[in-house]
C-alpha cells in the first residue's frame, strides 16, 4: 500500500488523499495590476517536471487538512510532506 505521511494523522494510505495540483504557484500579489498574461500563466499554465515536484494534497478521508507533498513524478516516491501554510523542509531536488 502506498503511504503518504499526513503531518497530523501520520502514515496513511494514498486512497485517503485527494490530489490538489501544483503546490508551487503564487497568486499575483497585486490582482488589480496583474496583466492578462500573468493571470493566464497563474490560472492555466503548468510545468510538467520529471522528478521531484511540490504538490498540494488533501487528507480528504482523514483530518480534511490540505498538505504539501514533495513527490517524484517519475517514481511516485514521496520525498517529504508538511503543512500547506509553510515551505516544505529540505531541498526541492
Amino acid at each position: 500500500m502506498h503511504l503518504i505521511k499526513c503531518p497530523w494523522c501520520g502514515e496513511r494510505a494514498e486512497m485517503e488523499f485527494t490530489y490538489g495540483g501544483d503546490g508551487t504557484l503564487t497568486r499575483p500579489a497585486d490582482p488589480e495590476a496583474a496583466s492578462d498574461a500573468e493571470w493566464t500563466d497563474y490560472v492555466y499554465f503548468r510545468d510538467n517536471p520529471r522528478g521531484p515536484h511540490e504538490e498540494l494534497w488533501q487528507h480528504a478521508s482523514g483530518c480534511r487538512r490540505w498538505i504539501k507533498v514533495r513527490r517524484n513524478t517519475l517514481t511516485h516516491e514521496i520525498l517529504a510532506t508538511g503543512p500547506a501554510d509553510r515551505p516544505l523542509e529540505g531541498n526541492a531536488s
Binding site: G10, M15, S61, G62
Partner: protein
C-alpha cells in the same frame, strides 16, 4: 401546527436481530448505538479558556494528540483533526449537551454543533471485528497500532468513516475487540450492507435495536 418528527434510525427496517452466516460460534456481533448525543466542537487547542470550558462541561480533558480519545462518565471525546473534536454522550439529550457546551464556552472563539441526527454509529464487536473492517479500510487495525482509546478517520468500503477503538480486550489481545464506526447517516444503509455481507464468512449476530 408544527409537527415534531420523532428521531428515527437510518437502519430501521434493515437491522434484523438474529444469527447469520457461517455456522459454529459467531465471530462477531453487529449492533447500532442509538440515541447518542453527538456534538461537533471546534476551537483553539492552545487557548486555556477553550480547553477549560470543555473540561468544565464534560469533565474530560480534550485529547490534543492526533488519533486519540478521552473517555469517562459515559462521555467520550474523539480527536478528528487539529482543533476539531466530536463529543459523544450516552444517556444525555443532545440539545442539552450542545447548549451546555455553548453556555460554558460563552464568548470564547469556538463552534459547537449538534450533529446527532446526521451520524449513525455501528458497533462491531468480537474476535473477527478487525478482520471485517480490514476488508475495506486501510487503517492499521492491529491492537498494537490501534489500541484501546485510539480513533481515526478513514475510508471503509469507499465511505468516509470515523473508527473508534473502544476496547481491545485484556492486554491488547484479540479476545474481545470493540470497534465503533461513525458514518454519515445517508451512507449508513450502504455501510450496513457491506458489513453484513462481509461478516458472513465469520458468522455474526445482530443485536436487537435497544
Amino acid at each position: 401546527m408544527v409537527e415534531v418528527l420523532p428521531r428515527r434510525s437510518a437502519l430501521e427496517g434493515a437491522l434484523e436481530a438474529g444469527t447469520f452466516g457461517a455456522g459454529g460460534t459467531p465471530g462477531l456481533t453487529l449492533s447500532e448505538r442509538r440515541r447518542l448525543a453527538i456534538v461537533h466542537v471546534a476551537g483553539d487547542a492552545g487557548d486555556p479558556a477553550f480547553t477549560d470550558a470543555v473540561r468544565g462541561r464534560t469533565g474530560l480533558d480534550l485529547p490534543i494528540e492526533a488519533n486519540t480519545t478521552a473517555a469517562g462518565n459515559g462521555r467520550t471525546i474523539l480527536w478528528l483533526a487539529p482543533n476539531r473534536w466530536l463529543v459523544v454522550c450516552d444517556g444525555e439529550e443532545s440539545a442539552a449537551l450542545e447548549t451546555g457546551l455553548r453556555d460554558a464556552l460563552g464568548s470564547t472563539f469556538a463552534a459547537v454543533n449538534d450533529v446527532s441526527q446526521g451520524r449513525t454509529v455501528i458497533r462491531v464487536a468480537g474476535a473477527r471485528a478487525p478482520d471485517l473492517l480490514a476488508k475495506g479500510c486501510p487503517l492499521d487495525l492491529h491492537a498494537r497500532a490501534f489500541p484501546t482509546g485510539a480513533c481515526g478517520q478513514s475510508s471503509l468500503a469507499k465511505i468516509n468513516v470515523l473508527v473508534h477503538s473502544v476496547d481491545r480486550g485484556a492486554d491488547g489481545g484479540t479476545d474481545a475487540p470493540i470497534l465503533d464506526v461513525y458514518v454519515a447517516r445517508g451512507f449508513a444503509l450502504s455501510l450496513w450492507e457491506f458489513l453484513t455481507d462481509g461478516a458472513g464468512e465469520f458468522g455474526y449476530t445482530i443485536s436487537p435495536m435497544p
